[in-house]
Symmetry: C3
Subunit: 483 residues, 3 copies
């Protein structure tokens, strides 16, 4: 830092070391090697993806190879996969100078999270007690994508303010917590949550918000000039929005039981989403004196219906019920951007870059409540006797549960998700505060230059960065000057 | 407007009120509430998406839950859904400063249109006379997407020249007209049109052109500086083009009868599209002295084959037949951009922003003719006895219809589509002329600033807008100055 | 050229004629007409896409129309289709001023290549010797997409340095060579290569490299200013990367045998790709003193796992085996960008615009070796008796082949692919050297202005082009000045 003269060094040139060369390399290699070893010890193909299947078909009365589960889950899986990588990735490219970080780090943590999720969820759900192995098939891949979605939601809260190493640590713990809360909610409480309003969105939302709360930066205004969007970055973000919006019916129906379950879940989600769009536009326009629409609302609040329909998608909520949920969530989410996010920041000191509180946490809570109420009011006349059993999976040791009890367990599930999110996030946030993770200085937040080689000729076009900072950037990153 | 001195006020500062705050909010809320009520009264899940299905399976000899229609329509549905939101949305982002409007308003009107289409098409096609209810399943969702496609085509003609309120009105009437003409063509005339050359493209094309004709702006040259593209906006538009191009085989086969019907429709459309690309490139290059290709042609005319194969996709037109149709339509559509569009504007006073006449109307007419001729020349030797009955659905009261009669009814269908498009468009255009809808002034067309909060730092980069207009813009939109 | 005074004419104003008006029009028309004629003579619908199918169902014990192959291949086909057009197309948009060429020419040559591939592959694989016809169905469409992938890989090596006419010639020969080597490898040698590590990637990679070697331009540094990326072009390229990455499991499983084969191929590819991402990030970060990530690596090397799993995807390589392959390929591919590509250019005079040697050729070779070793070490205990026969298709005249023999044939297959690629590429490169194809001058490489109408206002923003060249450009392209 010798190049910085003492006068402004103290203020401008924070001696944050953002060079993650050794840390990132180390973490990536060690974790990937660990994955290889753990997969070697634990993971095998399941019955339907093993070469022995052709032999077992005759024994299991399967007459045709196309009865393989692959054909009835894979198209949904691919839609969910697109949501994870293109949907979440591009949705976060709205910042003027953080597109590489948005789409690139999203890619990195999703790729790592998927592997870890296969293991964690496998230990809890697919472990064969006899052989001690996890047998994976297409449904495991979908569930791993779901698990990673929770962590990517959390990324939205801290977008631009953390280093890739922090993100990997956050994902490691996030996936672990997810697997546990999922086990508690779906297996122990036996709540229904195929689209993950509670398990994914409430957990992921509060996990991210708690982390952001612990990592609060009082001087974040120093990078305010980079906190907005530019014209093209907003257009890129719409790619993410639309792929999330279009494929959300696949998301909510991907793991639902076959037949009418998947069919109904897709219809409900589709209707709920259409309704969100109109009320989002209405509130967005109304909130401005000029009546102009705000891209932030269109990019995010239009999706709130999909989040809120996560739990109840498979229930007989009926088409107009789905529309009503979307109606309310579009309003609630847009209101959140207008009124609640500023309050969260000012009062609770929670800075939420992408507004995940409005897009995931609140609509997730709504989804949980809608799910509990809809479950509690289910009846044999609406579902049919077998339909009721199948929808709520009242089998095995849960065969005597009543729908009102189910409603209570649904509500309990939401509380568990929230508790795991807030508690886990606070602890993980504390871990991420250690000054070893290479996080950016306050004045370098939302700036791809810190962790990415950015094309040179564009650097000069970077607007609003005072030359003095550029100079300090150079000094900070120039390795010869480091002590 | 007091800030504008009298001298240039009359000319530059047109007192158009583009503040749609109350109108847009009102329309969105009222219509969404109307949808909730109407869905509550009329719409229910159909047999295969109702929880009773599991009970009915045994009675209906269904042995496995994967026999649910969902599995054989949903992948096609998702492809069509991508075409509607990403395909149409991004195709229209080519304008340098109207990407938000293109992709955002496309999103809004599609989300509204889908709900209204489910109702309108439901009343005409899926209403159970006993219960008075509309029972919806996956096929209704596909058909709603199709219906909305017609309205989005019409949006292409008036892109940049209308307000979001006008678009919602246009969609309300467009969907209504569509449902009626679809009923006349498919049910009364019993024409075959699975990919909608006539029902979607001819109708949507002429509907949009008629509206644009009524709304003609003699002084549109005032916003000429925004009527072109920039480098990145053309690249964004290619996202739309490619998703439309790739998924068009799904579009034309989505509602075709199962088995060889869907299979053949996909192959024909695929072949037809490949052929369009080569002739479009050839004509585009030949039309320029320098031999340079024009992005407008590549973005649009390459798709003409998909439009033209809409009716005949399911027929035994044979692979080379499909190639020939694509061959001709690539040429015709590119020629349209070169020669017909300028004439339409000069002579008939029809301004067509996206060139829907070249991409939808003309190829749709070609598709209708090809369909009529192919139907009339069908024979048992080519289709097989059962194949002929299945392809043309010669069942029930149409079981004695001959193929030559079918050809005539196909041709009649196209005339009906065109009549509904032109007639309906003229009337709706007249409604849209009322000075209450908040449409932009001539000098503010193609400008996202009118209806969107555009990122600030970009505003200064806006090229070609004389400062005087910026000043007036400010005056117009500054609510304190309004009377 | 009269406007150029003699002084700099010799140096700056190379008399290259890049006006492809007549050539491109001629080639497109002639080839498309040839396709129509050849399709007319040879191509018919196959059994499952012919209208007679409904009649044949009863005879073939098919009870339901949804048993049509269409339903079990079409979703995979669409994923592959997206990879070809959006994946390859957008991956190449990374250059600052060659996005039109990347996505547009990719579109053109793919659309032509698909038709020619249906014919070429049809003659070798689907020709009915009795009728002399090629019967096409959904599997032919997938295989045509695969074949075209080989040619698009080759395009990556010469991106920005050739004319569209050269690309069409390259594709014509590329598809022809592909069909022959595919026949030798899959039919004669009976090697297994469903995802095409050898057939597609090794062939395509070396084909492109050999062409680039023959077309080497010693003065390419003249257009060095256009050889980099800009911020938004790198973001566009990530669209390509992600769609390739997400849908690669569909690519490798698209033509695999139904049931466990497709299921396992998808899982293996998915795992292999996740592992590539982490090691790519690790090596990319480690390679820079500042620890910053390079978008070139993230865009390309993350995909190496998919390439390398092409052959072995269907084998029982086991989940951790897939992770190990991805682990190694991420490292190898990134190392390639860092060390091998510069050497290739300096020592062997092979310039490789997109780095296809690192993304396709080398990982393809790894994939071939992995496939050979995995095949040779297969056993009945791992696959089951029937599973072994089904996986390696040990039927008909290959029913007595041992797994070790299979391993040898796999290795032989890779040598054949490489030989066809290098040999064929050298010959085709020689053809492309004729000065008649309208290729750009050294100083006009990577510039869309040569073959595209580029929006005007952007031209002035073109950075780094000395005004003198702009002037010459004008002179060159101004037809009045031509002699």
């Amino acid at each position: 830092m010798g190049n910085c003269n003492q006068g402004f060094k103290d203020y401008f040139c924070r001696p944050k070391d953002t060079n993650v060369r050794f840390k990132l390399t180390f973490v990536c290699f060690v974790w990937q090697i660990a994955m290889v070893i753990l997969f070697g010890v634990f993971v095998r193909y399941d019955d339907e993806s093993d070469a022995h299947w052709v032999q077992n078909m005759a024994q299991n009365n399967i007459t045709s190879a196309v009865e393989n589960e692959f054909y009835y889950r894979y198209p949904s899986f691919q839609d969910v996969h697109v949501m994870i990588f293109v949907g979440f990735g591009f949705l976060m490219t709205f910042l003027k100078r953080y597109s590489f970080g948005a789409v690139g780090f999203n890619f990195l943590i999703a790729a790592f999270g998927l592997q870890w999720a296969l293991l964690m969820q496998g230990w809890f759900h697919s472990l064969d007690p006899l052989t001690g192995k996890i047998y994976i098939g297409i449904e495991n891949l979908i569930n791993a994508d779901f698990c990673v979605a929770g962590c990517l939601i959390a990324y939205g809260a801290v977008l631009g303010k953390v280093s890739p190493v922090q993100l990997l640590v956050m994902t490691l713990f996030g996936v672990t917590l997810y697997a546990v809360e999922e086990y508690v909610i779906l297996d122990l409480l036996h709540a229904i949550d195929n689209g993950g309003s509670m398990v994914i969105h409430v957990f992921g939302g509060y996990y991210g918000l708690a982390i952001s709360w612990v990592l609060y930066r009082p001087n974040l205004h120093k990078s305010q000039n980079l906190q907005g969007s530019v014209y093209h970055s907003d257009t890129f973000a719409m790619i993410g929005t639309l792929f999330l919006w279009m494929f959300w019916p696949s998301f909510n129906s991907a793991t639902t039981y076959h037949g009418d379950g998947q069919h109904r879940a897709a219809i409900n989600t589709y209707l709920c989403l259409t309704s969100s769009v109109l009320t989002t536009v209405a509130v967005s326009s109304f909130s401005q004196k000029t009546g102009k629409l705000d891209m932030v609302h269109i990019q995010n609040s239009t999706l709130a219906g999909g989040v809120a329909m996560g739990t109840a998608a498979v229930f007989m909520i009926s088409p107009y019920g789905a529309l009503i949920v979307g109606f309310c969530c579009g309003i609630l989410s847009t209101m959140g951007y207008l009124f609640i996010s500023p309050c969260l920041e000012k009062i609770l000191k929670i800075h939420d870059t992408c507004g995940i509180h409005n897009l995931h946490a609140m609509p997730g809570v709504v989804g949980g409540i809608v799910g509990a109420v809809t479950a509690a009011s289910a009846s044999e006349s609406v579902y049919g006797k077998q339909g009721l059993i199948q929808t709520f999976d009242f089998t095995g040791k849960f065969k005597d549960r009543t729908v009102s009890a189910q409603g209570c367990y649904q509500a309990a599930g939401m509380c568990v998700a929230m508790a795991f999110g807030i508690g886990g996030g606070a602890i993980v946030g504390a871990i991420l505060r250690f000054p070893i993770w290479g996080d950016p200085a306050d004045e370098n937040c939302y700036d791809d230059h810190v962790y990415w080689e950015v094309p040179e000729e564009e650097e000069n076009q970077l607007e609003g960065v005072p030359p003095i900072l550029e100079y300090c950037n150079y000094a900070t990153n120039n390795p010869e000057d480091e002590t």
